[in-house]
Amino acid sequence: MFGFVRPLVPELKVRELERFRAAYCGLCHELGREYGLAGQAILNYDFVFLAMLLWGEREDCGYEMRRCVPGFCRKRCVCRSCAPLTTAAGYSVILAYWKARDSATDARGLGKLPGKALAALMRRAYKRAGERHPGFDASVRERLGELSKLEAENSQSLDKTADRFASLLASASGAAEESSRRALEQVLYHVGRIIYIADAVYDLGDDRKSGSYNPVASRYSLDSDRLSDEQKEELLETLMGSARLAAAAFDLMPRSYWTPVTENILYLGIPDMIRAVLDGTYKTVMRGLPKSPVRPGGGESEA
């Protein structure tokens, strides 16, 4: 479900891309140091975005050269550990653990195994993270619980189910400085909606195969894994509406060290991702951001 929130690379300045990669590596090292391999395995772009939004007024926390695996690989430039990265790392562990637990409870028969295995692997990391961030832990547990209930009822309201996930993400704004908290809460709420709905569109095929609940399929009472053009248009309206509201809220946050990158993500990266998910090109276009060649033309895909 994660990794949808990323910049549109061709539109970043070179130094912004280098910093973004350093922050990504920084989060990875943070996860490794605090939560071990199980933590590192859940690294994703969304939480780099969260760390950047939680940055506050500080400048960079310094960079250093480190190897991904001691003894192997070449050294890379990495963000030094600092509070926003630590928070984002802890939050990502908590969310991944409860997601795994949930998918184990929701699935049937052998389908329970992957979720169970992941939850077991993450258990120690989760215990540490949960002790450090009890507030976020409680809110994730509660909201995912409500979400499972809605899913079990086969809820037809796309907004209602998305709301549970969105407010879960919005509760991460509690870690921000007072002055930006309200605006950040809105940014995260709408980004949460986008992640949830985009993920549902992306998973239509898989969910149909495995027979699991899919909020988009349920909203439109689909009997195949394909959306009609009108349905796609409606989803585009819904998702772009949220993208505009997230961007409007973002404009009310104070400028920070990461503003050029977060601005790119909200104004260009997310709209690009939305279009790619809806026209079915997401998998081919977006995979492997750091190494992949620049997408010709960049910018907006043809509407």
């Binding site: 907004d159 209602k160 998305a162 819904t238 993208a243 505009r244 409007a248 009310l252 790119n264």
Partner: protein
Amino acid sequence: MSDPYKVLGVSPNASDEEVKKAYRDLAKKYHPDNYVDNPLADLAQEKMKEINEAYDIITKSRRGGSGSSSRGSGGYSGYSGGGYQDGSSYGQIRQAIQSGNLQYAERLLEECPNRDAEWYFLNGMVSYQKGWLDDARSFFQRAVSMDPYNGEYRQALSAVSSTSSPYRQTGYGPPAAGGFDMCDMCTAMMCANMMCGGCR
């Protein structure tokens, strides 16, 4: 108050033109039209006040402290939403929505006996304010199909039916091709503005 140059994001050595441009850009960004029916409208209003003050201070000090408000007619003033004073329950609901008391509005709507176009429209407004855009569109569609001649309903529907990307203020600007249409954006904003008290 904080440094007015910092508020506008320009250096104290910036030319009058640069200051003016920075002010204009920020005023566009925080313009109330961009935050119609947005729960953060008050924050945007504060920002607007801040940059208005900063711009006034700078222009005044540059003119040697003389003269009154220099923004003149070009300045953007605060936004005042039209209040609904009518005593009917729909009026009450509109008022509740306007003041951001969505739970109360929802309760009143539930208690409403009739399910006419206005009822669907107001439900759409509540959904919209919550950020539930899919539900909002469904409600507006319903309202429009029941009362196709009501301009308010149609404008509300077109405001949630925009597919344009968020408009980027800074940087190199988006590529010109496809998807991005300033006209759509403007009409959507104007419609959204109408929705909030313009007609009635």
